[in-house]
Symmetry: C2
Subunit: 223 residues, 2 copies
């Protein structure tokens, strides 16, 4: 044999990334293959060549997006010492920042995945795997904190379920642009809930304000 090196991986991620963007701004239903291929600078036929069908592309794109988010968040978290610090950071990462479109995108796609998972088995499976992984991460932080004595007694699985659901519900409101629910409030509520259930002092919460100020300055400098 002898041929050409496979670009499969490169092309696939190129298309998945394009699909993410398109889905985030047009919505799953209104995403056409041509939109994705246009954004990726390729032809529609090529998308089918690599993914087999539109359905597969969309499902994979949603899973891919959430995977990106998770990978990034996980990397962040492993660099942090102390369970309560880590919990605080985990909450920060999950709360939709509103300022940066980029991070809202993950939430938008997450919502799209929900509605799709209600009927598409493949999407349901992927969503479930992502959910489980995320809850495990939360539960793991709880266990760590309990071992170290930072947190009080509390069922880690149950707490993970609770916190994760709370974040989903609150983030949703932020996405909708509810004037009464901004990222700041969500963060505060999640932190309170965690501190209450786990019994730790969320004095680290000041950190977020500092970050926000830094961002403001950054924006001011750019604009």
């Amino acid at each position: 044999m002898g041929a050409r090196p496979k670009l499969t991986q490169k092309r696939r991620t190129q298309m998945l990334e394009a699909a993410m963007e398109v889905i985030a701004d047009r919505g799953l239903c209104d995403t056409r293959i041509a939109d994705v291929s246009d954004r990726a600078g390729l032809s529609p036929a090529l998308v089918v060549y690599y993914f087999g069908s539109k359905e597969k592309l969309l499902t994979e794109a949603l899973a891919y997006a959430e995977d990106l988010f998770y990978i990034e968040a996980f990397r962040e978290l492993t660099g942090i010492e102390g369970a309560s610090e880590r919990m605080v950071r985990l909450i920060e990462l999950a709360c939709p920042p509103v300022v940066r479109r980029e991070a809202d995108e993950y939430w938008t796609l997450w919502v799209e995945l929900w509605s799709r998972a209600l009927r598409n088995d493949e999407a349901a499976r992927k969503r479930e795997a992502l959910e489980r992984r995320w809850r495990n991460t939360i539960a793991e932080v709880v266990r760590e904190g309990q071992r170290s004595g930072e947190f009080g007694p509390c069922d880690p699985e149950r707490f993970a379920t609770y916190l994760s659901a709370l974040m989903d519900g609150l983030a949703l409101q932020v996405l909708f642009g509810d004037p009464a629910v901004n990222g700041e409030l969500v963060y505060e509520m999640c932190l309170d809930a965690a501190a209450g259930e786990l019994g730790f002092e969320p004095d680290a919460s000041r950190r977020r304000d500092e970050e926000r100020e830094a961002e403001q300055e950054e924006l001011a400098a750019e604009g």
Copy 2:
């Protein structure tokens, strides 16, 4: 003038009801006008005659469904004496029962409305109105309980936002069929949260178990 009595209202609800069912089991994207007209026993053209377009039909159907839920819930609640009893019942009504398909339907449609509201202005407006009404209802119960001394101090609006988001997030998991999250657990978590924030004794929680037993018997009798 002289003519024929308008069936407009009758036909519209007939179609909205059909649309609810179709959307709940095929999903918003895959709902065709023909599905709705078939289910209603009418012609596709008639749907357009009454609603103008598919888009309008769908948006109205989603809002209609949530309206039905709310009207029913509200009626229920007004018949109850005592703020804590009322809060307990409110939570019961909102938690997806899983046993009865009918009530899950509202939740399914609620999720569909979410994804649509991210991009369709009309849907966004309706969703917002429904959300506001629901939160007001919660907040009102809180205020009532505070006046009567049943509940401790707590910002009613904030609590409403919190509880409503928590319900959304948890109900979602039930819809997905997460084995670790059934209606019972959701109910318990919401009740705990409410009791904790508002400072009342959720001893009324036994009621739900009784109901469940009654349902079991009912089912057994039917099967």
